[in-house]
């Protein structure tokens, strides 16, 4: 029942051509330390499903991605993710662009073991024209046409939580869990990085169990990495690192991803990375954004 692994061990579960889902939203609570580990691995030809931010941009820039299934890729305060943009404008990746809610339905269908969920989302738009794999269905109950959102089955889901125990109980303190519960449920293997590893007793205290949003049999691997969401946020522990995102975005306009990867990722471990961005104390001091 000890599911604790290193980031290296966890990421070695991911093979060429797999479909991976990434939790979080834009610049918020992304499993970035796991993404950095993935960038160091030889894996390629991934299909990525995400409410995307720098996770998607970095994987595209590093040539890891064959296809992105997305509704947006954004850093919020920098609306257009620079490396995703580059990859799209150079035709380097295939895409399946769907509505935010369609992605949720696709994950639910995968989690529930059904081939599709009927919906009206996307009808009448280019989402239908540009995704020929998405079919229409007739309802047995009315005479309308419905969009059949196919299950988005994931080989692996990558998620960042506030806390977890070695058995895979995960807690999220952030005001929003986004669709992380559905990413976990839609995946064959769910890998959760967490800011803190706690004893199971922790969940017995007070109402701590109230903020466990999926069951431990849905989590296969736990990777404790304090500050592991940086440069994205892990509200309420730390906000996103605006200065770092600006440096990252500027690199896209300047010398490209190679110097960024050289400085922060390639041949660096997470401790070395953190020492370059102000250390764990610096990460924990990052202010929360005000919306």
């Amino acid at each position: 029942m000890d599911k604790v692994r290193s980031a290296y061990e966890a990421v070695s579960e991911i093979k060429d051509g797999m479909t991976i889902g990434i939790g979080g939203w834009g610049p918020r609570r992304k499993p970035m330390a796991l993404i950095r580990e993935l960038l160091r691995s030889p894996v390629k030809d991934l299909t990525v499903v995400a409410y995307g931010g720098a996770d998607v941009g970095l994987l595209c820039a590093a040539g890891k991605v064959k296809r992105v299934i997305f509704a947006f890729v954004s850093l919020d305060f920098i609306p257009l993710e620079p490396y995703f943009r580059k990859a799209r404008q150079s035709g380097a990746i295939e895409v399946s662009e769907i509505d935010e809610g369609m992605m949720l339905l696709g994950l639910r269908a995968a989690a529930w073991g059904v081939p599709y969920i009927p919906t009206k989302l996307g009808l009448g738009t280019d989402v239908v024209r540009l995704n020929p794999q998405i079919k229409m269905v007739d309802s047995p109950y009315d005479n309308k046409e419905w969009l059949a959102m196919p299950a988005l089955k994931l080989d692996v889901a990558l998620i960042h939580a506030s806390r977890a125990d070695q058995r895979g109980l995960c807690q999220i303190d952030s005001p929003d869990l986004y669709m992380d519960d559905w990413f976990a449920r839609a995946a064959e293997t769910t890998i959760v990085s967490c800011d803190a590893l706690v004893d199971t007793d922790y969940f017995h205290q007070g109402d701590n169990a109230r903020s466990v949003f999926w069951e431990r049999n849905v989590t296969q691997i736990v990777v404790p990495i304090a500050g592991g969401a940086h440069p994205s946020s892990c509200d309420p522990l730390y906000g996103f690192d605006m200065a770092h995102f600006k440096e990252y975005a500027a690199s896209a306009a300047g010398d490209g991803i190679a110097p960024y990867l050289e400085k922060y990722v390639t041949a660096k471990n997470e401790q070395e990375y953190q020492s370059l961005v102000g250390g764990i104390d610096g990460i924990l001091a990052l202010p929360l954004p005000v919306y």
Binding site: G122, K144, E145
Partner: protein, 273 residues
């Protein structure tokens, strides 16, 4: 304060607030500072039953200020409303979103995804379709356009159609165009709706000093016009006071280039002196 002492941003905000009048108990979502200020103004004045989020994950009984907030500031939370739960609520139709598309065509279809004729290799990758496809078929939507031009109001169809509009060729089987609910369009020149013949875009009011010719010249397709074409109503002193409270840092002054005056005639008068 004279009647003329208001900015174009304030005039547009007040006009945008009107889009929410009488909407009832729906989630009012303004994307961008001025639409959010507009929805908040409507909630604080003539449509108090509107519902609103903190743009993150809580429903609020009172709208937050759109500027000048600190992390520690309290807010009037009434329920949790995480991203997935928003869908659970609004797929039933009880929402009115005001959004700012990059392209709008004669059918009321919009684009925020990508520009160019080759989707696989777009000239400009933008945000992605986000929630537009689902929003447009599930609930009411209005558009906020800070720069009324032919680049926004495009000929033909949008490069990527992100939201369903009044295009009979794209209407799914079994649906009627009357099920699509696109409300108002507030631009820096005028206020419009989709109430012309066959859901044609129609001018309802012109901002002070703007001519109908200028609006048509900056639109790539033919516009309808109401018989009793009005001048967009100036903000009242009460509305100005509430906007000042909701936006204490005056971020609304930074939303339009050079923060132009709300009444153009005033500018022209001063030039003629």
């Amino acid at each position: 304060m004279t009647q003329q002492d208001y900015s174009l941003a304030e005039l547009m905000t007040v006009a945008a607030a009107e889009a929410f009048r009488g909407n009832g108990e729906v989630l009012a979502t303004g994307i961008g500072l001025l639409p959010r200020l507009a929805a908040s103004l409507a909630m604080k004045t003539f449509t108090p039953e509107l519902m609103m989020t903190d743009s993150q994950s809580w429903m609020l009984s009172e709208p937050n200020n759109v500027s000048g907030r600190a992390v520690s500031d309290r807010q009037a939370q009434e329920s949790w409303m995480g991203f997935s739960r928003i869908f659970d609520n609004v797929w039933s139709g009880k929402r009115h979103a005001m959004v700012g598309p990059t392209q709008i065509d004669a059918y009321g279809q919009t684009n925020i995804s990508a520009l160019g004729s080759d989707y696989q290799n777009p000239k400009v990758q933008m945000l992605g379709v986000r929630g537009f496809p689902g929003n447009s078929i599930c609930h009411a939507n209005s558009f906020f356009v800070p720069d009324h031009s032919r680049r926004v109001f495009v000929p033909g169809e949008c490069d990527v159609v992100c939201s369903i509009g009044y295009n009979p060729k794209r209407l799914p089987r079994g649906y009627s165009l009357d099920e699509i609910d696109i409300r108002r369009v507030i631009t820096n020149l005028c206020v419009m709706d989709w109430g012309g013949p066959n859901h044609q875009l129609r001018v309802l009011s012109l901002h002070p000093g703007v001519s109908l010719e200028e609006v048509q010249e900056n639109t790539s397709f033919e516009l309808a016009v109401v018989d009793d074409l009005a001048i967009t109503a100036a903000p009242t002193p009460e509305q100005m006071a509430i906007m000042a409270i909701l936006d204490p840092a005056n971020s609304r002054a930074k939303q339009l280039k050079d923060n132009p005056a709300g009444d153009r005639r005033r500018l022209e008068e001063s030039r003629n002196v």
